[in-house]
Symmetry: C2
Subunit: 508 residues, 2 copies
Amino acid sequence: MARLRVPSSTGTVRSLASTVRGRVTARDVDLAALDHDASHLAGRPVAAVSPVDADDVEALVRWARRTRTPLVARGGGTSLDGESVPIDGTVVVDLSGWKRILEVDADALWARVQPGVVNWELQRALHPRGLFFPPNPGSWTTSTIGGNVGTNASGPRSFRYGATRAWVREMEVVLGTGARVRLGARVAKRSVGPDLLQLMVGSEGTLGVTTEVTVRLAPVPARREGLVVPLPAKVALGRLAGRLARVPESGLSAVEYLDRNCAAAIAERRNAPWPSGVALLLLEVEAGDAEEAERRVERLRSALGEVGAAERLTVFPDADALWTLRGSSGDALEERFGRTVREDVAVPLARVDALLRAFDGIARRASVPYFLFGHLGEGSLHPNFAVSPASPTAERLRAAVLRASRSLGGTISAEHGIGRTKREFLAEELGAGAVDLLRAVKAACDPDGILNPGKLYPEPARGARPPSRSPSGRRAGRTRNGSPSDARGSTGRRAPSPARPRRRAARP
Amino acid sequence: MARLRVPSSTGTVRSLASTVRGRVTARDVDLAALDHDASHLAGRPVAAVSPVDADDVEALVRWARRTRTPLVARGGGTSLDGESVPIDGTVVVDLSGWKRILEVDADALWARVQPGVVNWELQRALHPRGLFFPPNPGSWTTSTIGGNVGTNASGPRSFRYGATRAWVREMEVVLGTGARVRLGARVAKRSVGPDLLQLMVGSEGTLGVTTEVTVRLAPVPARREGLVVPLPAKVALGRLAGRLARVPESGLSAVEYLDRNCAAAIAERRNAPWPSGVALLLLEVEAGDAEEAERRVERLRSALGEVGAAERLTVFPDADALWTLRGSSGDALEERFGRTVREDVAVPLARVDALLRAFDGIARRASVPYFLFGHLGEGSLHPNFAVSPASPTAERLRAAVLRASRSLGGTISAEHGIGRTKREFLAEELGAGAVDLLRAVKAACDPDGILNPGKLYPEPARGARPPSRSPSGRRAGRTRNGSPSDARGSTGRRAPSPARPRRRAARP
C-alpha cells in the first residue's frame, strides 16, 4: 500500500520547481506566514507553492500523487479549527494571490471569481451594481471565497439567506485524482441527478483544489434597520426565536443574542446605547423603504410582546452602525477576559435554553469566566471560556460543549467546520454508515490521501475520542514520528509521516 | 462479475414473501397500475412489494442484493422521464401507502414525514398552522414527498423559494448496500463536511430507498396577489426577467410565461380575463398585508415600465384564482392540440430569447404545431410539440430541444430529472470527470446495481447518443434479450436481463 513520503525540503523544492510554473519557496520567512490558521494549532510545511493557473494546479496535484506528498490549499488562513493548518511535511498551496473577479452577470445574479478573492473585496466590487454576496462570516474582511466555500462559512445574515452552501452555483475543482471537473451550473434551475457540487462545499480542501467559484448574488436591500431588544431574565429564548421565525414578511435577516457579559463589555468600553446588566437580542430588518421598515418593526414588536420581550426597543436606522458596535465585541471582550476558547455548536430551537443551562454548568464546574453570543435565530451559539485555547482545560471544555450539543440533538459545528480539532467527534454525529459513505467519496476523489490529510475524517481504527488525548500541551518541536493513529491518511492508509500539528504558543 | 438475474414471477413472489412482512403480489391487475409513470414508457415488473417499515425495507434490499433482483421504489408514479418506470423483471417497491405525517415542529419549521405522503396532503395538514412546504410541482395533488425529493421537483414558486433540494433537512435511507443511514440534520445551521444529503436529493431512487424525510417549512404569506402583464411582441424576455429579479423586496414568488397559443387557449376555453393574441407574464407577489402588496405591485409596475412592458396590468387579489386558470391550461391545450411532447430545459436568462428562437426553428422544420410556457424568472421553459410522445418525430424533437439548450449554456433538465429518456445526454452536460465521480458514488451506495437500473447514469461503453435509437416505436412484447448496451447495470456491470422499458400505447 502506498505511503505518504517523508519529504526533504531541498529535494521537494527542486522537484516542485521543475514541475510547476508558479513560485516555490521553502524559506523560513515565507513558511512562517503559512504554518498556522486562526486556531491554536501550527505545523511545519516543507515548502509552499503559488500555482499560476488551473493547469499549474493540475500539474501540482499530479506531482503530489506521484511523489505521495501531502498538499494543503489555503486562502486567508482564517479557519478556526485547523482546517488550513499544514501537518508537518505538507506542501502549502497558497491561493491568496488568486484575487481576480472574472465575470459578473448582474441580470442573472452571479459572479465568477478566483478562490483567493477576499469576501469583503467581492462585496466592495458588487456594491456599485446594487448586489451583494450574502454569506458574511466574522472573518469577512480577510477570509476568501475559496475558504468560505471550503468550510461552508456563514454569519448573522444566514438567518435569512442561509450559509455559503446556498450561494454557490458552480465550481471548477482539480480533484485529488488529478482530474479537473466543473460541478454545478450557472442556470438557476436544474435537476440532473445527485448534487456533486455540494460534496465540495464544506469539504475543507480534502477532495480537490478549487480553482474557480461561481457564486450567486442578491440585490442589496434598499433599507436595513437594526433593533436592540433588552431581554427579561426569564424569557425562553427558544420560544422567542421560534415566534420571530414565524412572522411572515418580517424582513428579518439576523436574530443575534448577546449575553449580559457581552452586552456589558460593549456598553462599558464602546459606549453602546443600551442598558447594562441584561442580555440583548439584536435584530436586522430589511425593507424596500423606510415606511415598509416601520411596518415590519411593528410586526416584530407585536410578536416580541407575545413572548414578553418588547419593552424599551431601540431602533438603529442603519443596521451597519449596530453591527460595527457588535463587531467590536471581540476586542472589548478580549480587553476584559483575555484570550478565550470559542466554541461553535447549534441545537434545535426548542433545546436552546437547555443548551445555555449546560454551558453555565460546564463553566461553573471548571471555575472559568464565561460569556456567550450567537445566532439565536438558528439555534447557533458561541460559548466563550476565558482560558488559553492551548491549555488542557480548553480541550476538556471543548469536549464538554460538543457533548452537550450532541446530547440535545445538536451539531458539533454550526459554522466553522471540523478540521483538526473535531474529527474524532464526527462519527458520533453522522453515524457509522454515513462516515463510510463519506470515506468512499474521499477515496473516489483522493485515492492517495494527499489532500489535507489529518483533517475532517475520523481515524478509521478507533472509536470516537476527543482530540484532547495529545500528550503535550506546549508548542512541541517537530515530531517526525507521530502516533500511529495520527499518521494515517484520511482514507485509512498508514503514512509514516507527517505528524500532528503542534499547538501554537499563546500570542504575546 | 455478478449479474442481475432473470427472475421468474412465482419463484420471486415465494422468495420475497418469506423475506418481508409487507404484501407481495404478482397479479396482473396489481402490476398494471405500477408498470408505468407519467412518461410514455412502460415496463413489466415481476412483482410488487409494499414493505411495512424501514426494517422491512432493509430486509428487502438485502434480499435483492442476495438474489441480484432489480428494485424500483415509487410513490405517486408522476415522474415524466421514466424515473419510476420499472424495467422488465424489476420488483416494484410501492411506497404509496407510507402516508403518515410523523411530526411537525411549528417553531423550528420542519415536518418529518413518510415518503408516500402526497404533497397536497402535507400542505393541507400544515395550512391550519400557518405553514407550508414551498415546492409545488404541477403534479402536487398526486406526487409524493419521496418522489419530489427523488427528482428534486419544483414549480412556479421556486422563483422565490428554490427547488425541493433547498427544503430537505434530513432523510433516512436504506442504501443499496443494505445499510440504513440518516443524512442531514434538523438543526438550522451545520458545517460538518461534504453534504451527503444532497447526493440523495435528485438521485431518482438509484442510491437508496427513502424511508423518511424531514422537510423544512415556511410561514404562509398573509397575502398573495396575482398579476397578469400582456407582453409587447418585441420585448426581450431575458432582460425583462433579469430586471424583475433585481427589484429589492418585491415579494415576487413566481415569474411565469405563457406564449400566445397558451394564453389564447385559456382565454377562449376558460373565459380568462386577458386579451387574446399576445403572450403573457403571470406574476405572484407575496406580502404581509394589502397595503404592502400594493406598494410592491407599484415597484414591479415601475420596473416593468423600464423594459417597455407595463401597460394594461391586471391584478388578481388572490393569486390562487390566477393559478387555477393557469392550471387549466393543460386540459385547454390538450383540447386544442391533442397529446404533446413536453420538454423541460433551462438556460441562463441572457439566452432565453435565443432559446425561444431555437424552439421556433425546431417546430417549423418539423412542421408541428407548437406552444410554450414556463418559469421565465429562472430561464426554465417547457416547449410543447403537438405530436405523439411515442413517435419517432417526438424523439427527434426531444433531442433537438436538449441540444439547443446545451448549446446556449443551458441544462437538459430544469425540473423533471434524467430518468430513462435523457441519460445518454448526461455526460455531455456534466463532463466525463463528473460522470466518473457520479459513478463512484453510485458504486459506493449500490455496488450491485440493484436500484432502479437503466436510469440516470449513461451507458458506460458508448458515447453520448440520444435515446431515439430504440428499434421499435410501438408497445413491444416483453423483450427478454435487450441490446447488450441496454442490459448493463448502471455501474457498468453487464446484466443479461432485464430489458429496456417499452413505450406505452397512446392513450385512447
